[in-house]
Symmetry: C2
Subunit: 216 residues, 2 copies
């Protein structure tokens, strides 16, 4: 464990490694090289080796990486060797969709509470969790030791929710609302706004510009 600063880019690749390694594990593949990983994940093998080497010497020269061991190590690095409690704020369509991934993401991440501002939603069940009024959020987050909040409320409410989550002592927020949130620097914030993704894709559409290319 060297005490270098690990960049965001590196951290965001770890779950990708983890996912593919789990697949290998299910196929009972015992060992994998950075070469093979790179091929499957469209990444440079040197980059993969470097990423992993930040956290320890997980590989064996001439052999590669032991799949099970590497899975264990990456899970440790990502704090997934313990249960991480998550709260979902906003029980609309998107919130419901995410809560369904609960079983899927059982990398020890668990949605333990769901909140919504609308009285008509409160009391309903969503995957065995009862939707709670947003007024109970601070208290419940603290009681259940929720560490990550997922925001799926309309954009005009997102900042208020973020503020409340922050005051409840949340450590990280995944924000699906299409708006830039301001949170104190000790709260980790990630924007997961797919409208941005979708609009930026449009840039790459051909637009028949190519038709003009009748070059010599």
């Amino acid at each position: 464990m060297k005490s270098e600063k690990i960049s965001d880019a590196v951290v965001r690749r770890l779950p990708v490694y983890l996912r593919f390694l789990s697949e290998l594990s299910m196929r009972e593949v015992a060992t994998v090289s950075s070469q093979e990983l790179g091929q499957k994940l469209d990444l440079n093998p040197a980059q993969i080796r470097k990423d992993l080497a930040y956290f320890g010497d997980f590989g064996r020269k001439g052999i590669g990486y032991d799949v099970s061991y590497l899975i264990e190590k990456i899970r440790q690095i990502l704090n997934l060797d313990q249960q991480i409690n998550v709260a979902l704020v906003g029980a609309g369509n998107l919130g419901q969709a995410l809560s369904n991934y609960n079983t899927y993401l059982k990398d020890n991440m668990k949605i333990v509470a769901v909140f919504d501002a609308s009285p008509s939603k409160v009391g309903q069940k969503i995957n065995s969790l009862t939707i709670q009024p947003i007024e109970d959020m601070v208290e419940t987050v603290q009681r259940l030791k929720v560490r990550i909040g997922i925001i799926t409320v309309p954009d005009v409410e997102a900042q208020r929710v973020a503020d409340q989550l922050t005051s409840a002592g949340i450590e990280a927020i995944l924000n699906f609302a299409p708006t830039i949130l301001k949170v104190p620097s000790e709260v980790r914030l990630h924007a997961a706004d797919f409208t941005t993704d979708l609009l930026s894709l449009a840039y790459y559409l051909d637009n028949e510009k190519e038709n003009d290319k009748h070059d010599a």
Copy 2:
């Protein structure tokens, strides 16, 4: 219009600019400086000026940017001055959630077709669109001139769907399935996998490591 290569990072910021500018426009703000933009969007003003300058001289020295004009220009850059037809493949919870954003994202992007593999879903309505069998996908995509596909099917089906969309001549894919897809280089692919986002957030959780810090 200089013919420099524009980086992905630049393109992904354009929709963020656009969104905030629209907000300003609704508030009837006529002019904005890179300074103000940077403040609101947590970006360096020089970066914003540089981003915009790739595409033209949109600002006025000493004054700033005309909000309406800049909106128009960014929409042109992103090809949003024409209707872009989108197909949604996978009518599960996530697919339904995304289709609800249809009204919201009416930046000329429109979901014009929804497909699902499950016979029980086919024929049902989702926001006034009838869910079609996935077998009709290639034909429908071509007939309706769909240019962007959104994949929200289970990960094991995602590659097959991507292949079919590709063969139908789609230009870009937004993939929500947690798997790495392979598509030909002429198809623009963006991964919108929130499980990756969520797992990477866990890295930043405190984990009481800080308690050990009793330094001199």
